[in-house]
Subunit: 196 residues, 2 copies
DNA sequence: CGAGGCCTTGACCGCGGTCAATGCCCGTGG
DNA sequence: CCACGGGCATTGACCGCGGTCAAGGCCTCG
């Protein structure tokens, strides 16, 4: 079996990096002023269900996940690594209570950015509005690719794809969360792993 | 069985409408100048695989779909109705060749908007840039909800949800495309429909 | 009337889910 | 230091959802 590793999302991510690297020093410091560093312990919640997502969290160290409850079962929708930005999208956009939790899987250090401050900064620096748009576009592309996987791939294929594109996941994140993220039961994931 | 019909995506869609209704006359006419009306016949392609998505298509009359090929099989990813905007996202954003087709299911009348012209218009009218951002956010929310369905619901549940939220689909779109859109085979869809 | 598109129905079977038992690792307290 | 308990992962037994293959029905249109 052979899996292609490159994705539209990753190529676009490097475009965003490029854009950030060419931002003016004043723009970058304005961005910095919206944020502060914070540390959470393993198991802590950065965001709880029912709360408004008033901040975005960029991971500096450690791992986190986003999940919601469905009939009492936790469904993990996203896993976060270094430099990833964690928000509960619909709650963040509409500034209304959301259904998602964001939780530290290990001890994490995050750059916490205030929603309101960032909105103000965007008005002053159009470059930040453009950056915000690019990040939103990135997320859409990423979601489309994830949907593609659910639409066309078997459990085994989804796992192997994850394995090749993000091998660091396996070392640091409990299989329970990986299984949920892949949309399969812990037992089947275990069996897939057993048969190499 | 009971399905909730309201969704985050639809509430946000009405916010976008509200925003458009409060735009200045000059902004709206600038928007109009980027677009032109065009008619396609049933089966025609508005966009082909391998081409760059240089236009967005807002449906004025009729129905369309977006799909790609996976091992020779057509996978329908989106169905378009009145007022929906059809693009191949990653191709549109990066202005690079994409893998998706957009095809008229019935005769359609669409408002075709030029990418380059719209980019220019956004620079002059920040309100349009904001509108563009809102539409992008809407698509993300919609994708999240669709992913939620694939993550947690059975084929039968997905079908019934579609039936309650968009009953017009059944009258106008061939079951082959609906099945593909739901990620199930035509045969299972047929069986689901047979058992009420 | 025949051909082709579209949908239905039947037979079969494998992927992946659930339930339950067991194993393994590790922190805590007797 | 060992014993116990809890969290996490593995393994087995069972079975149902949904996929594939194949045949047949039913339109519409040339």
């Amino acid at each position: 079996m052979h899996y292609k590793v490159t994705s539209q999302a990753t190529t676009y991510a490097s475009k965003i990096n490029e854009y950030v690297n060419h931002l003016g020093i004043d723009v970058l410091s304005a961005l910095d002023n919206c944020a502060s560093i914070k540390v959470y312990k393993k198991g802590d919640f950065l965001l709880r269900q029912g709360r408004i997502c008033t901040h975005s969290f960029q991971i500096k160290r450690g791992f986190a996940r986003k999940f919601y409850l469905n009939n009492g079962k936790e469904i993990t929708t996203e896993l976060f690594f270094k430099d990833d930005i964690a928000i509960s999208l619909s709650s963040y956009i509409m500034q209304q209570p959301g259904k998602e939790f964001i939780q530290a899987i290990t001890d994490v250090e995050v750059s916490v950015m205030d929603y309101a401050s960032f909105q103000e900064a965007k008005k002053i620096y159009p470059d930040l509005a453009i950056l915000d748009g690019m990040i939103g576009d990135y997320y859409s592309i990423w979601l489309e690719e994830r949907l593609f996987q659910f639409h066309t791939m078997t459990a085994k294929e989804r796992y192997h794809l994850l394995l090749t594109t993000q091998p660091e996941i396996i070392q640091h994140i409990p299989l329970t969360h990986i299984a949920s993220y892949l949309g399969i039961s812990l037992e089947t994931l275990s069996r897939i792993r057993a048969r190499i």
